[in-house]
């Protein structure tokens, strides 16, 4: 019993919440570095969706531990639930929009299972990144020619 009385519960609470918040911030930082460094829109989106969702959940959970009140915990859980539901939905909608808008894939991505869908939707050109670059170049040339005509 004397062991339990010697523990400083406030300090323990602060340390636990600090660990949660720092790990959450680390996940956030990893997600941001991924957003900057990864080569392709789809890979970037997957990185930041997972990383930022987990990081935000950990930060808010640490906050709930720090305040140590039921009302605060309820609000924090509301935010966490909302983020966990909406982040994948938003990522899915944006990803589908990107596919429809013919955003190119990275050249090393394995698209074997995805080819049938692309063929059905007449979106094959996005598979080939070189072709996409060629198309952009051609557009630029056409614009330059128009400028010359004027």
């Amino acid at each position: 019993m004397t062991m339990l009385e010697n523990i400083d519960w406030n300090l323990l609470k602060e340390i636990i919440s600090c660990v949660f918040i720092l790990s959450g911030v680390m996940f956030m930082l990893v997600a941001t570095i991924g957003l900057l460094r990864l080569p392709d829109f789809y890979i970037r989106m997957s990185a930041i969706t997972k990383g930022s969702t987990l990081g935000l959940g950990l930060i808010l959970f640490g906050l709930g531990i720090y305040f140590n009140q039921p009302s605060m915990l309820l609000k924090v859980l509301a935010v966490i639930t909302f983020t966990f539901i909406t982040a994948p939905v938003a990522a899915h909608v944006i990803g589908r929009t990107a596919v429809q808008n013919k955003i190119p894939f990275w050249k090393h991505t394995n698209l074997n299972e995805f080819k049938k869908y692309l063929h059905r939707e007449h979106l094959e050109e996005i598979v080939n990144y070189d072709k996409y670059e060629e198309k952009v170049l051609r557009k630029k040339k056409a614009a330059a020619r128009e400028d010359n005509v004027e």
């Binding site: 930082l29 941001t32 829109f41 605060m72 909302f82 938003a90 944006i94």
Partner: protein, 81 residues
């Protein structure tokens, strides 16, 4: 304190991607991450000040961030069709 600095650094890096992002969906996802960062900053600020009212701001911001990205994607889809 360290976490506040780290989150601000995250915000800066995200702004860089927002500026150089080659396509429009890139910018939308960068906007998503900016909203997440701001929610984290508000949470840590709540812990600094000890004022519980600020967490309501985080609730509303998470709601509006989702709405913003969804509507961006929706209108992007509408423009191309």
């Amino acid at each position: 304190m360290i976490s506040m600095v780290a989150l601000s650094f995250c915000l800066l890096l995200t702004a860089v991607r927002f500026a150089i992002g080659p396509t429009l969906p890139d910018r939308i996802t960068a906007f998503d991450l900016i909203v997440a960062d701001v929610i984290g900053i508000i949470a840590i600020y709540t812990e600094f000040t000890g004022n519980e009212d600020y967490i309501d701001v985080a609730i509303i911001l998470s709601l509006f961030g989702f709405l913003g990205s969804i509507s961006f994607a929706y209108y992007l889809m509408k423009i191309t069709k």
